[in-house]
Symmetry: C2
């Protein structure tokens, strides 16, 4: 009697941005393990009889150890249950799936990954801009602004990130953006490169700030860190669209 784990991408936050398949899996799961960012109204879609288990590890807060999450997943599945592991955005993007997958493989438990709407796609849509544009923004890249220590990851490819012809999206980059902006400037990215910061994308708290890379670095240096999850997007498209 072995269960099964569905890694379900919950999208940026709005329940209407879940996929049809994600809704179906939530409706039948017997246990749902969720992060902070995939909680809220999305959990109301879960099977009313499911165990709902918060395993959040939001940046900067004390959080359950990863091996504890993996053990919970394996324990629920060994009871023969269908387990949903809910991950915000798209599960494959900075979701740290690898440790949980390794634990499931070691335990001989089957799994599937259900892709979802990444937060950069939702942020760009909310700002009424595409992420790419013929001739001027032909490459798009995503990186995380924080490693496990909370600092900027080591060994960044700064030349790739300083390319003014790409759209770059930094996940969890609010606390480290001043540092990153300094390194981008040193590598030649103009300080007046358009930038936007999107907080609480697709939720009632959504806010979109527009300016430049240099202006955003100054703003973030001057203010207390916000509580909402924030994405930073810079590149040739960030000053287009509007909030119509």
């Amino acid at each position: 009697m072995t269960g099964f784990v569905s890694f379900v991408s919950s999208g940026p936050g709005d329940p209407e941005l879940l996929t049809v398949r994600a809704v179906k899996r939530l409706a039948v799961a017997r246990a749902v393990l969720f992060d902070d960012l995939s909680s809220g109204p999305i959990l109301s879609l879960a099977n009313p009889e499911a165990d709902l288990v918060g395993v959040g590890k939001r940046a900067g807060r004390a959080s359950p150890r990863q091996d504890h999450v993996s053990r919970l997943l394996v324990d629920y599945a060994r009871q023969g249950q269908h387990v949903v592991r809910l991950k915000s955005g798209d599960a494959g993007l900075f979701g740290r799936l690898e440790e949980e997958i390794t634990a499931l493989r070691a335990a001989g438990i089957g799994f599937e990954i259900i892709p979802g709407v990444p937060s950069p796609c939702a942020a760009a849509a909310a700002a009424n801009i595409p992420l790419t544009r013929r001739l001027t923004a032909r490459r798009v890249q995503f990186l995380t602004g924080a490693d496990v220590s909370g600092g900027l990851p080591e060994a960044l490819n700064i030349d790739a990130l300083a390319d003014a012809q790409a759209t770059t999206v930094v996940f969890m980059g609010r606390r480290t953006f001043c540092d990153l902006a300094g390194r981008l400037a040193a590598a030649g990215l103009p300080a007046d490169t358009p930038a936007l910061m999107a907080e609480g994308v697709s939720t009632a708290d959504q806010r979109i700030w527009r300016g430049t890379v240099g202006g955003l670095a100054r703003k973030l240096a001057a203010e207390a860190p916000g509580e909402l999850p924030a994405l930073i997007l810079y590149g040739p498209l960030a000053d287009e669209g509007d909030d119509e």
Copy 2:
């Protein structure tokens, strides 16, 4: 009497990978303008009374001119209708939204962009791999392998693309990959870098080939171009996962 246009991302092909909001918009639209890649079973979700208008421009085929598509969008909206412009994957990624948005703005017609599941997220999920991994794959980048002429785009940032510590996904890259692989090798990317090619992702025809960048270039040089849309993914994660 002015209508409204919803740019709706249709995801990689499987109707269950549409978002809940996309399904809602299709159900009420009075006109649906669709590309080749977002046709098939997804169109059966459309309002039965909607006009379904194919405006495909699949790589390598004759296709309607872009200004014709924009004119159709404006014409339908001016009749006071709710128009869905369906785009495969996520509409903001290589969907060439900008020309249609410009036309709508010029005509004073409101619009929204509904984000969706990008094909790289669906391809990675189908291959049971994440797109990023702590320490070894901290940056992910997407590019198109074909510009309007069908050739490799000019002014590629080859150093960024030859970074063995990133996951790179090439859209519409089948015909140009031999050329790209040669340039990556010259920039220092090892020919044995893991690679996978995913065709017909999330459809009944899905096929995933696994090998190396060098091996894929040889395979594509030796065979007739396939008919299915193909994504090429290379980087440290491409040889993980399996087809369990």
